[in-house]
């Protein structure tokens, strides 16, 4: 199989939407699989489960390629959204199997603990490191609500119950955290390019 001539993510998705499950899918997989696997592993806490889910995520991305809408976000945002959604499905299924135990939030559940694994690729870039550092610089309260919402799939009501806070406070912290993240990205871009 020869390599797909373009590595442009949108072109790859367009080719997949047209039915290409060969070269375009291979190039798309090469571009995103290791990132998706890292996210799934982080969210599920189980490398074996994450590897199993990786297959399902890419089959779903191929199925959904015709619906990709570039005006709603970048390809990487779409990939991450699909992967996160499948990971949350897996977490809910696990909860149903093992009972709905009260979740005890501890700071760092999703993002702060970075255990080194032998299969961590050397391609961890300054970009990855800078982003994680930026997240760690967020206010601890903002970090907590973003971890619970994005990585644990909790609604603002569930977060309010878990952290024993008014719903309005949870919403304000989410908004403040998202604004901080949005404002940090251009700074990181500039710092890395310098």
């Amino acid at each position: 199989m020869t390599e797909f001539r373009s590595k442009d993510p949108e072109e790859l998705v367009a080719a997949m939407a047209a039915g290409d499950s060969g070269r375009a899918l291979s190039a798309f997989y090469a571009q995103y699989a290791s990132t998706v696997l890292a996210l799934l592993t982080k969210m599920l806490g189980s490398p074996a489960e994450a590897e199993e889910l990786l297959q399902e995520v890419f089959v779903e991305l191929w199925r959904r390629a015709p619906q990709f809408d570039r005006t709603r976000g970048s390809v990487v945002a779409w990939v991450i959204t699909v992967a996160r959604s499948r990971a949350l499905d897996a977490l809910r299924a696990r909860k149903r199997r093992h009972g709905d135990r009260q979740f005890q939030y501890q700071e760092g559940d999703a993002l702060m603990t970075e255990r080194k694994r032998p299969d961590v690729m050397a391609s961890s870039t300054r970009w990855h490191q800078a982003l994680r550092q930026a997240f760690q610089r967020l206010d601890a309260e903002q970090r907590a609500v973003l971890e619970l919402s994005y990585f644990q799939g909790m609604s603002h009501g569930q977060i309010a119950d878990t952290l024993q806070l008014p719903v309005g406070t949870v919403k304000s912290r989410i908004l403040a955290g998202m604004r901080s993240l949005r404002n940090m990205l251009p700074i990181i871009h500039r710092a890395i390019k310098a």
Partner: protein
């Protein structure tokens, strides 16, 4: 920023962070329909959270996974789902 834009920004943040309720989602869709320029606000937040979620150290993927994915897709292409997908992509 007027009140409606502030409300849209809050809903966009909740949506991107995965914390929006169904009611929030409906309200956001209505605001986006009324003012398409708000899509940029949603997009910015989604790109920010996606950047964060893709910031973990990449992991080596199992060697056989791509082959399994392609095999599963080949099976679907030949089945009812594949025929429906082709029909939808033409229409």
């Amino acid at each position: 920023m007027n009140e409606e834009q502030e409300r849209a920004e809050l809903l966009a943040a909740l949506h991107a962070a995965g914390a929006a309720s169904e009611e929030d989602e409906r309200e956001l869709e209505a605001l986006l329909a009324a003012d398409p320029s708000l899509v940029e606000v949603v997009k910015d937040f989604q790109d920010s959270i996606a950047a964060l979620a893709s910031s973990f150290d990449p992991l080596e993927t199992p060697a056989k996974t791509l082959g399994k994915i392609q095999q599963q897709i080949a099976e679907e292409k030949g089945g009812l789902l594949g025929r429906l997908r082709r029909w939808f992509s033409k229409s």
